[in-house]
């Protein structure tokens, strides 16, 4: 009840930044994926926090949005991990710096 929206948002921002750092800074594909997950979580938190500033039923829209985010995250993890496996099996490596064939 008394938790301030700003604190929630700040927490979300920090988690987002951490997720981004993991997604961008790490070379291991696992960390990239997990960083993305963390960012999604931060976004969810932000959704919920903002939803508390709306009156009446419209606040519930903010509650429903994370539901979809979770669903999409599940799909993303599903496909992402499958791709990761096939990449690993092709390349024997999970180092993103090894993957530079896209430009060719």
């Amino acid at each position: 009840m008394e938790i301030s929206i700003v604190h929630l948002q700040l927490l979300a921002a920090v988690l987002f930044a951490l997720g981004l750092a993991a997604a961008l800074g790490r070379r291991n594909l696992f960390f990239v994926l997990m960083g993305v997950e963390l960012m999604l979580n931060a976004a969810n938190l932000s959704f919920l926090a903002w939803s508390r500033t709306f009156p009446g039923r419209s606040a519930l829209d903010g509650q429903v949005a994370p539901l979809f985010v979770i669903a999409v995250a599940a799909a993303e993890a599903c496909v992402g991990l499958a791709m990761l496996m096939s990449v690993f099996r092709n390349r024997e490596s999970l180092d993103t710096d090894d993957f530079s064939r896209m430009k060719e």
Binding site: L24, G25, R27, T96, F99, M102, K103
Partner: protein, 670 residues
């Protein structure tokens, strides 16, 4: 009056076409095609039935006309009422202002046309049995011929211009198929295509003319010959179309319709196809390109005489073009060496006579010439066919001669034809040509008369030349060929005899010199009479008949004598190359050159430009867009690093920058 039988007239030959067509198609694989007896029997039977039917109808028509005439005389009326059997079949299309029915109508004009179309048609089917007996595709040939007959019947029997147009294009198609019948020779195919194309130009004129006519009539008048005639015979309407914009419309309409006629009847300017059409088998030339199809232009003018007399300018044009064509073709016929070409130009020339007659307002004279010409030109062509047949395909007159004794029957028949066409007394041409000359004198002025009589002299010259070169001069035939010369079988001889007799006797259908014999004119009077009376007015003065007759006879005899002087003594000088001298060639191909310059080359040049310039240009435009996209692709690819993290980081930085920029702008604007 309603007559339920008219539809049978075209359907009978159509059945013949279907039977023979299926026979031909189903036996295409076998080595010698369908049985000649069966296909021949079918081919002759159906046209003959059609002929019988048209004889019966004509007899009935004459009877009805006579009884009506009697009634009118008894009642003290002075009317020439049209006896017309109609059979409207169904509504062809009925949309907006366009209400066109599909039906047939039979009156005196149609009756006369049908008599000789089906009659000569049957004879020529018979002739073809012998002529094409050794050809692999004779069943196909007979099928085409029957199809032609069906279309020709539709052409004359249609109750409105559009049904006529159906037959009009149909005969064009059959003409195409038959000219190109021996299609392995590409030249034949080219000739056939030329015929179809040139005719199509005329047909477009026909259609546009109909549009204009429709415009004048308005949507309420039924678009049948009956409706059109009645509309134009109304004096109030005649006054209306005589002046102002309606007159211009009518002139345009009639000129365009006449253009259609020049296409079908090979007049200036659309005459180049007819000489080429001689590439077809000779029975085809006789039936289609001499007796029937090419005269359908004259028929149409007669059919729509009420329309044409309302447009005096067009009538002048018709007369002048007719005279010019007659003269030009006669001169051309003078220099030809191919026997069929001579006859072809002669046909063009005679058709010119018919148009001259129509142009000076003598529709019945023109149609009478159609009638007599059908006989003598058919017999001339069939005779020529017989000669060619006997000589094993030789068509060059320089390699003929002395055949009178070898082919007595053929010679007799052709002599009859020659007798008729030169206008010697008693022959068919004597009556009809003199009639035309007389009418030209009366209504056409002296200039046209001089051209016409000069053409008559030329006609006598070139026809006599033909007879001399083929029959009377010493033989120049290749000895090897001469060995095999034989008279034709009975199926070819019988038509020759009948038509030969016809070309001697047909003229008596309207022997204007013999009092009381004006059967032809009387029969036609209800159809074209009002139009003629309108133009000629009451005949106040009688022409100097004796003088004109004498002039006509002098022309014929003079021409014959001249020809004997020219060709009998010196025989024929053969040029080395076998080709015509330059001047003759140029004169012969005058209109071909004109067509090339006016129509063919421009079309080819424009289409070449479109294909070689415009199309690549459009393609280039499309390619250019494609290249642009690719160039952009390269540009953006150059921006990429091959490091995943860097790429992602850069895009994240980009997002950050956008965000910062947004905030900054927001702040600044605040």
């Amino acid at each position: 009056m309603h007559s339920p039988l008219l539809w049978l007239l075209p359907v009978l030959p159509l059945l013949g076409f279907l039977v023979n067509g299926i026979l031909s198609l189903s036996t295409a694989r076998t080595s010698h095609g369908p049985s000649r007896g069966l296909s021949g029997f079918v081919a002759v039977l159906f046209p003959a039935l059609s002929f019988g039917l048209s004889l019966w109808l004509f007899q009935r028509l004459s009877h009805d006309a006579a009884s009506i005439h009697e009634t009118n005389v008894n009642l003290g009326l002075h009317l020439s009422e049209v006896v017309r059997y109609v059979q409207p079949l169904w509504s062809w299309f009925s949309v907006g202002d366009a209400n066109v029915g599909f039906g047939f109508a039979y009156d005196a004009l149609t009756g006369i046309m049908l008599l000789f179309i089906t009659g000569i048609g049957t004879l020529i089917h018979l002739y073809s049995l012998g002529y094409m007996a050794h050809d692999r595709g004779h069943a196909r040939f007979l099928a085409y011929l029957s199809l032609f007959l069906a279309n020709m019947i539709v052409l004359v029997l249609g109750d409105g211009p559009l049904v006529t147009f159906l037959g009009w294009e149909g005969v064009g198609l059959c003409s195409y198929l038959l000219i190109g019948f021996w299609h392995e020779d590409l030249a034949n195919g080219a000739a056939a295509r030329k015929a179809f194309l040139v005719n199509r130009v005329g047909d477009l004129g026909f259609l546009l003319g109909l549009f204009f006519l429709w415009q004048i009539l308005g949507p309420t008048v039924p678009f049948t010959y009956q409706g059109i005639s009645e509309w134009f015979r109304d004096p109030a309407h005649l006054a209306m179309v005589g002046q102002g914009s309606v007159a211009a419309l009518l002139t345009a309409s009639t000129l365009l319709l006449f253009l259609g006629c020049t296409g079908k009847s090979a007049q200036i300017p659309l005459l180049t196809w007819l000489p080429d059409a001689m590439a077809g088998p000779t029975p085809v030339s006789a039936l289609i390109h001499a007796a029937t199809m090419v005269t359908s232009g004259v028929f149409l003018l007669g059919r729509m005489s009420d329309v044409f007399v309302a447009a005096p300018f067009t009538m002048h044009v018709i007369a002048v073009i007719g005279a010019a064509t007659a003269l030009w073709a006669a001169v051309t016929g003078f220099v030809q060496t191919d026997i069929k070409k001579v006859l072809a130009y002669s046909t063009v020339s005679q058709l010119g006579y018919m148009f001259l007659a129509v142009g000076v307002g003598a529709f019945d004279a023109g149609l009478f010439h159609v009638f007599t010409h059908a006989f003598f030109k058919a017999v001339l062509f069939l005779g020529a066919g017989s000669v060619i047949h006997a000589l094993g395909g030789e068509q060059d007159m320089r390699r003929m001669g002395g055949l009178a004794r070898k082919l007595p029957l053929t010679f007799a028949a052709m002599f009859a034809g020659w007798y008729a066409i030169t206008g010697l007394p008693g022959g068919a041409g004597f009556w009809s040509k003199d009639l035309i000359l007389e009418k030209t004198w009366m209504h056409g002025g002296w200039a046209l008369y001089v051209v016409a009589i000069f053409t008559a002299v030329l006609t006598a010259v070139y026809m006599t030349r033909l007879m001399i070169l083929v029959f009377w001069s010493p033989s120049r035939v290749d000895p090897e060929v001469e060995h095999h010369v034989h008279e034709s079988p009975w199926s070819m001889a019988l038509p020759l005899v009948i038509l030969g007799l016809g070309s001697l006797g047909a003229g008596f259908a309207w022997a204007s010199l013999v009092p009381g014999v004006d059967w032809f004119a009387r029969t036609l009077a209800p159809v074209v009479g009002p139009a003629q009376d309108l133009l000629a007015g009451p005949e106040a003065h009688h022409p100097p008949v004796a003088l004109l007759l004498a002039l006509g006879l002098m022309a014929a005899f003079g021409g014959i004598v001249l020809s004997f002087v020219l060709f009998r003594s010196g025989s024929y000088r053969e040029t080395e190359s076998g080709e015509l001298p330059f001047l003759s060639r140029f004169w012969t191909l005058l209109f071909d050159h004109l067509h090339a310059v006016v129509a063919v080359w421009p079309v080819l040049v424009v289409s070449w430009i479109l294909d070689k310039v415009l199309n690549p240009l459009l393609f280039g435009l499309v390619r250019l867009v494609g290249y642009l996209v690719e160039v952009f692709g390269w540009l953006f690819r150059a921006l990429q690093f091959s490091r995943l993290r860097l790429n992602m980081g850069l895009s994240a930085s980009g997002a950050l920058l956008v965000l910062l920029g947004y905030i900054l702008v927001k702040e600044l604007l605040k």
